[in-house]
Symmetry: none
Subunit: 190 residues, 2 copies
DNA sequence: CATCATATAGAACTATCGTTCAATATGAAA
DNA sequence: TTTCATATTGAACGATAGTTCTATATGATG
């Protein structure tokens, strides 16, 4: 068992903070090595394992696996903090939430009209532009030139928008309901 | 008026795709300059403007402003226009939500005890292990060997757990309240 | 304990990086 | 147009990066 996962953890923290990797001498200091040669070997191992990529101009590039996180299960609560975390699955948040980057847009929730759907003011929703929406889906519609996040509903063959908050009225389009995109996810930072 | 904002745009795109900056010769090619000297000057300008930072070991580091535009533009730029969307790359949600990967863990919400806080069953919370928690924060505690996500509250100098759902009772620890970590964010997929 | 594979130390080496500076280009203001 | 400030070119320079190789350390396994 080698210490590469420890090194990887430090590299991840450093990169998350700075957005850059240090030079090999700096990495050595960071992970507690004394030689650049050792770093070079370690980087190659992490590259082989799919976490990093070394470009032709000798720069370290993070790969997908570099951003994977551990998804814990409730069951594991009793388990002591073992070094081996085989029970936690790797998980990439961006990959999980977004699969068509070019058609995907982020939008910040304003107001509490969707609060019963768990969308609080300040939450960011992930919107897939032009995706087909069904009744019951949360969508982004354009009403009076403004974007609105609401449930898409239908009555008597006519679509309308329903907020997830009884304090707000349902919205009926005059003639045509303009749908901007489908809400496929959301996130929030405390 | 100089072209720095164009250069910045290209650097942003490149960085969003790769997670790294090219060497100055590569930047020159990228932005259509013919000399590294010009790049050097341009980088200094962008650093002065607060977008970049040049470290003592001559590495280019993105600053906060470097990422600002993307979130901002996504929210606002989309509003007036509806079709014009070549400003590609989504900024990394992962980067936004997580800054200490090694101490960060994901946990799936079970049940609706935190539903008034906008945490629905199936949502994933981002937990910073061992982070200091204050009263009013949402935390992950270990109760009877299971993870529980609740508000941390205090009464008469004693900590207890409060669900965000009136149908659930408050939880008082027998002797010691074991806190696993602090909830710093959450996300959800529809 | 001895053996073997792998990881790290350390130093020497070369490529390449970013800096610098003078000359030139660009472009706004008068 | 002329003037003036700023941007860019291009080449030379020194510094430092990462590679490489050997020796040593580490640590697992028998």
């Amino acid at each position: 068992m080698n210490k590469d996962h420890l090194y990887l953890a430090k590299l991840r923290d450093y990169y998350a903070n700075t957005g850059v990797f240090p030079p090999y001498s700096g990495i050595a200091k960071l992970i507690g090595m004394r030689s650049k040669g050792g770093v070079s070997a370690m980087v190659k191992r992490l590259a082989n394992a799919g976490y990093l990529d070394v470009t032709s101009d000798r720069r370290i590039k993070p790969q997908k696996s570099f951003f994977e996180r551990e998804l814990f299960d409730y069951v594991q609560a009793e388990l002591p903090q073992s070094a081996n975390d085989t029970l936690a699955e790797p998980y990439s948040i961006d990959e999980y939430l977004i699969n068509t980057p070019s058609r995907t847009v982020l939008l910040t929730i304003k107001g509490d009209s969707m609060i019963d759907a768990g969308l609080m003011p300040g939450d960011v929703v992930i919107v897939k532009k032009g995706a087909p929406a069904k009744v019951g889906n949360i969508i982004v519609a354009i009403v009076d030139g403004e974007y609105t996040v609401k449930y898409l509903e239908a009555r008597d063959g006519q679509y309308y928008l329903r907020p997830a908050n009884k304090a707000y009225p349902e919205i009926y389009a005059r003639d045509h309901l303009e749908i901007f995109g489908l809400v496929v996810g959301s996130f929030r930072k405390y």
